[in-house]
Every structure is written in structure tokens, then in C-alpha cells.
């Protein structure tokens, strides 16, 4: 049994160790509470999507066919791999392999940047195809199609914002680990990694809803 799962049991033996463990448990709990609020934040948008999709199925299907399934799938793979990288970094930190921690965190941040570049390419295509909601919207004749793209840009935009914060976070921890900064210790990294995984989970749901609506003819 690890110390951080039973801080009070260890308190009698090594008070100092137990204090660290308790602080770690508190930090982890705090991040999960934050994630719970984020679930509800994105949950509202997912509800709006499901409402739109059940009320304007034709519009959502017509609009959903216009998203780029190849780039969307590629981005899903990139993000899943980045989560794998950060999970490896946490494992490496737990086993005192500092050089690997820094490398894996740089890889995580780099994959995040790759994701944003691919996403930006998609946005550019959609903009030039007049799929951005507003005057001159390409599918204006189909009811609900514009609503789909409102939600598409809103959810992917908010996701990209979260990811950008994650990239900065991972870059900071990578640099901090390289320079052996005191603040970049493994428990703190573990908490930061939770945030990255959460951003990945949001995308896991966005992927089928935005890219895989109706692909069969």
C-alpha cells in the first residue's frame, strides 16, 4: 500500500512523510473537484448538442458530413497518444527517472501543439467553405445546420483553449524537471497530468459527436 492512500496510518511512524502524503491527497482531491465543475461546464454544451441533434436530425446530419473525418481521427489519435505520454511521464517520475520525465513532457506538449495545428487547418478549410455561422453560411437552407456549426466552433474552441493551457502547463513542468526545480516534484506533476487527461476525455466525446454523425451514404 502506498503512503498517500493511507496518510493517517503512517502518521505515527513518519510524521513528515505523512504530511507530504496528506498534502498530495488534498491536491489530487482539489483537481478532481475542479474536474467535476468542468464536467458540468462542458456538460451544458453537450446537452445543447443532444437537444439540437434530436430536434433537427437532418440539419445536424447534413452539417456533420462537412467536418473533416480524416483530420478529426488523426487528431483523436494524437491526443490519445499525448495522454499516454503524460501517463508515462508520471510513472517515470514515480520511479525517479528524471530525464525520461522531461522528454515525455516535452513530447506531450509537442503533441498538443500538433493537435492545434491540425485543428487550425480544419478551421481554415471550414472558413473558406463558408461553414462558419453568420451571413453567407453555406448550409443556411437546412434548418439546424447552422446550430451544429455554432456548437462545433464553440466546443472545439473551448477545448483548444483548455489544451493551450495544458501545453503551457506541460512545458513548464518539462522545463522545471530539467532544471530540477523544487516546485516540479512528482506529486504536483501527477495533479497537472490529471488536467491533461481530462482535456483528452472531452475530445473523446467530441470526436463521435462532431465527426462521426452519418458517414454511410
Amino acid at each position: 500500500m502506498t503512503a498517500r492512500t493511507a496518510p493517517l496510518a503512517d502518521a505515527a511512524r513518519t510524521p513528515r512523510h505523512a504530511e507530504t502524503a496528506l498534502r498530495m491527497e488534498t491536491a489530487e482531491l482539489g483537481m478532481w473537484v475542479f474536474i467535476a465543475t468542468e464536467i458540468l461546464f462542458f456538460g451544458g454544451l453537450f446537452f445543447a448538442y443532444l437537444y439540437g441533434r434530436t430536434h433537427w436530425p437532418e440539419g445536424f446530419a447534413a452539417a456533420g458530413r462537412r467536418t473533416d473525418v480524416v483530420l478529426g481521427t488523426l487528431n483523436t489519435a494524437v491526443l490519445l497518444t499525448s495522454s499516454f505520454a503524460v501517463a508515462l511521464a508520471v510513472a517515470a517520475a514515480e520511479h525517479d527517472r528524471r530525464r525520461w520525465v522531461a522528454r515525455l513532457l516535452w513530447l506531450t506538449a509537442a503533441l498538443g501543439v500538433v493537435f492545434l495545428v491540425i485543428k487550425g487547418t480544419e478551421y481554415r478549410h471550414e472558413w473558406s467553405e463558408h461553414l462558419f455561422p453568420g451571413p453567407g453560411f453555406a448550409l443556411a437552407a437546412t434548418a439546424g445546420a447552422e446550430l451544429f456549426f455554432v456548437l462545433y466552433f464553440l466546443t472545439t474552441g473551448l477545448h483548444a483553449l483548455h489544451l493551450t493551457i495544458g501545453i503551457v502547463l506541460m512545458g513548464a513542468f518539462a522545463a522545471g524537471t530539467e532544471h530540477a526545480s523544487g516546485w516540479a516534484h512528482p506529486p504536483r506533476l501527477q495533479v497537472a497530468a490529471l488536467y491533461w487527461h481530462f482535456v483528452d476525455v472531452v475530445w473523446i466525446f467530441l470526436y463521435p459527436l462532431l465527426y462521426l454523425i452519418v458517414r454511410h451514404s
Binding site: E28, L80, S83, L88
Partner: protein
């Protein structure tokens, strides 16, 4: 669920193997999700997409986010978030699903006669 959370793997190689297996499963599920979209399943398409996404989330939460090693308090915090989401979704859907949609025709703005004072129609 076990009473006691699992301890961290002692061996680094074992930890890496476990995480790699999770990653392979996630990519396989992503491809399964992609494939299912090209089959004509009717309403089954969205169900398949969401079920696969839920399984992927469970894998990420359990293995990558190490919820299997977290304290009971932490697990409760995550579960409360999920439960609240389900509750709010269910209640909202119960409203919207049972509400008849009667779109009104667009009415252009117009100046109405004042209800009180000078020019009131009574």
C-alpha cells in the same frame, strides 16, 4: 470494486506495459468507433459512438488518471461530478422531450398604441 486501492506498480517496466496496453486499447476503440460510423445502424450509430466514448473514458480515468489508486474521497469527488451531470441531463431531457415544439412565425416589430395616458384606446 475492491476495498483497498491498488498500490503503484513496484516495477517501472510493469507500469509502462500497463499504460501501453491501455493506449493500444484506446486506439483500437477509436478505430472501432470510426468503422461503426460507416455502417448503417440507424439510431445505433449515435449509441455506438457514445458507448465507445464512455468505454474510452473509463480506460483513461481508471488507468491514466489512476483513479484505481486514488483515495475514496477523490473517487467520490469524481463520481459526484458524473452523477450531477447525469441528473441534470435526465431532468432537462425529461422537459424538452415531452414539450411540443410549436415554432411561431416571425413577427416584425411594430409600434403599439399606448395602454395608458394620452392616446390610450379606451
Amino acid at each position: 470494486m475492491k476495498d483497498k486501492p491498488e498500490p503503484a506498480p513496484k516495477d517501472f517496466a510493469a507500469a509502462v506495459r500497463g499504460l501501453a496496453a491501455t493506449w493500444v486499447a484506446l486506439i483500437a476503440l477509436m478505430l472501432a468507433s470510426l468503422g461503426s460510423a460507416y455502417l448503417n445502424l440507424g439510431v445505433g450509430n449515435v449509441v455506438a459512438g457514445l458507448v465507445i466514448a464512455t468505454i474510452k473514458t473509463a480506460l483513461v480515468v481508471w488507468f491514466f488518471m489512476a483513479l484505481r489508486r486514488a483515495s475514496a474521497m477523490t473517487r467520490i469527488a469524481g463520481a459526484v461530478g458524473l452523477a450531477t451531470l447525469i441528473l441534470l441531463m435526465a431532468l432537462s431531457f425529461a422537459d424538452y422531450a415531452t414539450r411540443a415544439r410549436a415554432p411561431a412565425r416571425w413577427q416584425s416589430p411594430q409600434q403599439l398604441a399606448p395602454a395608458l395616458g394620452v392616446g390610450a384606446q379606451r
